[in-house]
């Protein structure tokens, strides 16, 4: 029987060892570009309900690091949102939009 000190200085060099492995979620669900995934080629400015997914509750366009949209379609989304705003289909400024 080894003493506690010996166990602590064991092979792992004093790492804390748990009886059950810690359940830490490390694998996040990967973001994807919904246009490429579902094969949408044209972003329509006449459909404000759809464009709502790409703005925050103040009516600002969300960055693609949050939505996962690819650069090619992010540009199209931005243009579509701006056109929709011009036609008063979407607000320029708002709060509590969602």
């Amino acid at each position: 029987m080894s003493s506690i000190e010996q166990q602590a200085k064991g092979k792992k060099g004093g790492d804390i060892r748990y009886l059950t492995p810690l359940n830490i979620e490390t694998a996040k669900t990967k973001k994807y570009c919904m246009f490429q995934k579902s094969g949408i080629k044209y972003v329509d400015y006449k459909d404000p309900d759809f464009l709502m997914r790409f703005i925050n509750e103040q009516g600002k366009i969300l960055p693609r690091r949050l939505t996962g949209t690819s650069l090619k379609y992010q540009r199209k989304v931005a243009v579509a949102v701006k056109r929709a705003r011009h036609l008063a289909l979407m607000p320029y400024v708002a709060d509590l939009l969602k």
């Binding site: 404000p48 036609l87 008063a88």
Partner: protein, 112 residues
Amino acid sequence: MNHYETVFILNPVLSEEQIKETVKKYEDILVSNGAKMISKENWGLKKLAYAIQHKKSGFYHLFEYTVAGDAINQLEVNFRRDERIMRYLTVALDKHAIAWAEKRRKRNQKTA
């Protein structure tokens, strides 16, 4: 000949007669410039996302057509001079947009 799409918003105080007349006027401008109308849509009275000229709603109309580029200039000059038009937007359609417009029209016909 290019493929275009125009959305314009009419003043909500107009009577039905005046609206028909205005829409007809702009259609005539296009047709007299050799445009081929592909579709006309009337979205009816819609609430605006923000006030334009202190009005909170407007009549939306959509035209889709092919025409030579010069006619657009003339159409937009007329839009700007007209007090009945609150907003307009003309967009040239690329091939993906044309495909989408066709799909959208078919879907609208089904629901209508």
